[in-house]
Amino acid sequence: MTVKKRIVFTAVAIICLIIVLYLSQEFMSSYYSRIITLIGIYGIMAVSLTLVNGISGVFSLGHAGFIAVGAYTSALLTLSPQQKEITFLIEKLIWPFNSIQLPFFWATLIGGVVAAIFALAIGWPSLRLTGDYFAIATLGFAEIIRIFALNLNSLTNGALGLKALPDHSNIWASWGWLLVTVACVTSLSYSSFGRALRAIREDRVAAQAMGINVFKHQLMAFVVGGFFAGISGSLYAHWLSTIDPRTNTIGIMLTFNVLIMIVLGGLGSITGAIIGGALFAFLSEWLRFLEGPMNILGFKIMGITGLRMLVFSSLFVVIMIFWPRGIMGRREFSWDGLASLFKRRDRK
């Protein structure tokens, strides 16, 4: 397939996607459009973690830390000064955050940049470790960020968190940023830099012997991953409309959720990360009916809280049995791949 054809196909696909998103925005209930927005947000989280854990092969468990940094930074920038005055009960918010208010786009971008700076500061010492030690170190740093968020009353409002964030995270914001994320990560992954990252993942010693500075490349991937994690954090906070330092909002639970998405989709595949994110968002909402009262074969069952998560986990176990390397493995979606899939069907 020629390059020109591929570009045309991609452009058509993006236009189709925009139309579908527009229609869902117009005709679906706000509940569904909220889920579609969440799919985009989870997609950004998963793709950014795939760059670090899947493509570069450094196992980070600190993703939620960068999401938190992005979330708090942008939330402090989008809240109106009046709202901040109402929210900060324990201690007053420090200057300059108490008097500024920025548009959502700029707040998100700054959230990403601040998260990237955090990633640089955390990656610099931690990337001298390898394997499990690196995972533990990043886990620790993410927890440190959360504890800071819990205790820095004059900046994060402590345990109360930030409330009444403007409802900016709509379908367009989340899917727009998802498109930007996918475009950046894909072109990075398919450039010489991405090739070097995969080489380091395959054999660190040999990569070094080929003149590649392993530390610098892994740090680069970590910082880019941190940047997009910050972006997703901003979108997530404005989707929730509140942000607080509990473990399942921005703590270790969130890291594990994102990790589940990328392992489910296929560790090392960008396509897989998006599929994993979508599946996670969709299933965790759709399975809610399990927790309501049900009528099975004439037996009336009251809602059981937590049943959803039980079924959810079992489903993942089944998926991992049939696709041990995740749904996509390390493969990526490509137009050529799709074409050959159809050709094979025709022959049959």
């Binding site: 070097a196 080489a199 395959e202 070094q208 003149g211 610098k216």
Partner: protein, 264 residues
Amino acid sequence: MRVLLLEGITMQFGGLTAVGDVSLEINEGELFGLIGPNGAGKTTVFNMITGHYKPTRGKIYFSEKEITGLIPDRITRMGIARTFQNIRLFQDLTVLENVMVAQHHSISSGGQAARWFIKSVTRIGYSVKEREMKEKALNLLKVLGIEGLANDKSGSLSYGAQRLLEIARAMATGASLLLLDEPAAGMNASETAQLVHTIRKIRNDFNLTVLLIEHDMKLVMGLCERIMVLDYGRTISEGDPAYVQKDRKVIEAYLGKEWVTIGR
């Protein structure tokens, strides 16, 4: 002109002296062989030259510049590339990608790195470089006779082809000194004969200096212009193949003292 100079390098692991006081000089364009029985310290010498080990004592100079204790990637960028005894290819990457990765340091080191990073993310002015790297890689694969495998996963190659790919990859770094660690291991007789031809050819066509470790004596004696023999980490003989073959100490090291006395 002198390319590589080892000045009394010693490598101790705890109480064990793996390499003791080895000195060596290699001139430009030479084919130099490093031989010795198993465990003689040959690969340890390679690891010290390429920066994977830091010598306990002694100094290493490359093109009259000291490189003792520099990190491996820095040494490769200065112009020394190696292959590995236990093949270390990037298994999940294709043959072509393996060779292209070795050229990556040309855009990722020095002051250019940030510019190329932005270029490769935005895809502005990047494809020219990508094409250039691909052409160079294909060319090298052709030289080694494995261009037909370019799009295969490197892990799926035969042993012999993997060894050739390692040489292609080392050459792609743009190095002027190649260190080949047992390039013929696992090859059959005809493949080995072809390899001798190939190594000589790349030395002449690419103006390389080659230092190689090998157990196949036919290859070493037929190919190398100068040979050094190590035993228990010490130099026991050095000279041209004819001299080394007759050296009593070498025969002793390989076949034992009794053989020398009975044989005479």
